[in-house]
C-alpha cells in the first residue's frame, strides 16, 4: 500500500497547469481544484488498496519491439505537411525565439 497523498491543493493545480503549458485564472484554479479533488477522492478506492506483488499492466498486449521490414517506402509529402503548419520559413517549421539574446 502506498502512502495516502495529501488532498489536491490550489497550488498543486497551478503547478500541473504550468507543467502542462496551460494558463488558468483564479476562478478556473478554484473550480478545477474542486472538480479534480472530487475525481481523486473517488480514486481513493484504488489508491488505498494493498496491491503489493501485483504486476502493473501498461498495455493490453504483450508485444515488444515490433519491427517492419527495412525497405524504402514513400513518406508524407513535405509540401502537404508544411502547408498545415501555422508558420513556415524555408521549408522548416518556424517558432518564436527559444533562447535569449547573446550578452
Amino acid at each position: 500500500m502506498s502512502e495516502t497523498p495529501a488532498p489536491l491543493s490550489e497550488a498543486d493545480v497551478r503547478h500541473v497547469a504550468k507543467l502542462a503549458r496551460l494558463s488558468l485564472n483564479d476562478e478556473e484554479v478554484a473550480r478545477f481544484t474542486e472538480q479534480l479533488r472530487t475525481v481523486l477522492g473517488h480514486a481513493a478506492d484504488v489508491e488505498s488498496l494493498d496491491l503489493e506483488g501485483i504486476e502493473p499492466t501498461n498495455h493490453p498486449l504483450e508485444i515488444v519491439n515490433v519491427l517492419r521490414a527495412d525497405v524504402v517506402a514513400p513518406s508524407l509529402d513535405r509540401t502537404e505537411v508544411l502547408a498545415q503548419a501555422p508558420s513556415v520559413v524555408d521549408d522548416r517549421f518556424s517558432v518564436p525565439k527559444i533562447v535569449g539574446d547573446a550578452p
Partner: protein, 472 residues
Amino acid sequence: MKALDIAAQVASKERSAREVLDETFAAIDARDTEIHAFLSLQHDRAYATAASIDERIARGEPVGPLAGVPLGLKDNLCQRGETTGCASKILEGWRPPYSATAVTKIEDAGVVIVGKTNMDEFAMGSSTENSAYGPTRNPHDTSRVPGGSSGGSAASVAASMVPLALGTDTGGSIRQPAALCGVVGVKPTYGLVSRYGMIAFASSLDQIGPFANDVADAAALLEVLSGHDPMDSTSLDQPPVSLLAQLDAGVAGMKVGLCSELLAGATEEVASAVRLAGATLEAAGAEIIEVSIPELALGLSAYYLIAPAEASSNLARYDGVRYGVRVDADDVTAMNTATRTAGFGDEVKRRIMLGTYALSAGYYDAYYGQAQRVRTLIISAFARAYEKVDVLLGATTPTTAFPIGDKVGDPMAMYQSDICTIPTNLAGHPALSVPFANDASNLPIGIQLLGPALSEQKLFQAARVVEEGATK
C-alpha cells in the same frame, strides 16, 4: 435503410450510388439543423466516389462489399485533405496529409464518406456536450444528449441520415452513445482494427469501431475494418475477421454470464431489459449463469487515472508548431501556453491536468502505479470469469439518455455513465451494445455483450439473437 440492402441494390443496378447519395444529403439537409450530428459535409468528394462506383458497375467491373453505402466519419479519424479536428478549436481547419488505415479500408470497400461527425473534444466526454462546436441532440428526444464521445456518429445513424458510421471507443465512446441513440455499436478487440490515423486520446485503450442500424450491418463494416496493418505496431497479426457467414449460427449451448457488477447503478427499467435479454438468449438455447466480478467496480477509478495520464502525454503534441492553430507570443514557451490555453476546452484541460498530476513525482505510485495494478486485477478477474462462461451480459449504460446540461457542471457524475463500458477497454477485450427495449419515456435501452479477446464471432451470434428478441 440497411447498409447491406443498399450495397445489394447498387451492385445490381437497382439504384445508383448517386441516387443513394442524393437521398442521404436530402435527409441530412432535412434533419441535421436540429440534430447537429455533422461538423462538416464533403459533397464533391462523395459524389466523385459515387460516380466512380457507378461507372465501374456499368462497365461490369467488381466493386467492394459496401459499394455505394454512405457513412459518417468521426472527426478524430484522419482523411487526407478533409478537415479533421477532433471537435477542438486547437485543430480547427487542419487537413491531414494522410488517411487513417480504417478510412482507406472502407474507401477500398466502396463506402462513400459523406462528412465528419461531431464528438466530445478529443473524445473526452460522455454526452458530446464537450464539442467546441456545440452539442449533438438525441434524435429520440432533442432535449437530451446522444451520449458520447461518438455522439454525432450514433445520432447520424439513429436519425436515418446515414446507414453506417465510424466511431472510437476508449472507455465506452461507441457503446454508450449507441445505447442512448438506439443503434448497434461495437468496440472490437484491442489491435483488431488499426489505429493508424486515429488521433490518439489514450493509446492503450483506444479502438475504432462501427455504428449501424442492425447487427448484420455492423458485422459487415467490422469485417472490412479488421486486419493487420504494418503502420500500427499494436495491430494484431491476424487476418480480417469473418462474421457474416456465422451470424445466424445461434447460441445453442453458449454459456452467458449475467454479471451483477454490470447492473450496478442501473435503473430498474435498464436492469429488467438486461434480464429479459438474458431470457431471450436462454430461450434460444443458451445457458444463463449468474456471475459476480467484484474487481470491475474498481474500473472507473483506474480508468480516470490511466486515460488522463496517457492523454496528458498524447496531447503534449498540440504546441502550435506543426499543425492546428497558434496564438502568437514573444517566446516559444509563452506561445505554447497561449495556444493550448485558447485551443483546449475545459474537459480537455481537466484531463490533461489530472493526468499530469497522476504521473508527477510523489503521486505516481499512489495514482498511476496503483491504477496499473488494478488493471492487472481486472484482466485476471475477467480471465477467471471466461473459464466459466463464453460471454458476459450486462447493461451498456446505467440510464437512458439524460437531458442536455444535466451533468456538465459535475464531471464525476458524467464519468459514472461509463461505469459498465470501461472494464472492457482496460482489458483490451471486445464488447458491443444492441438496442433491446425502450423505457417509459420511449427512450432506447441498449444491452451489452462482452467477451474475451477475439471473441467477436460469438458476440455477434449472441447479438443477433438478442436483436431478434428485441421488444423495442
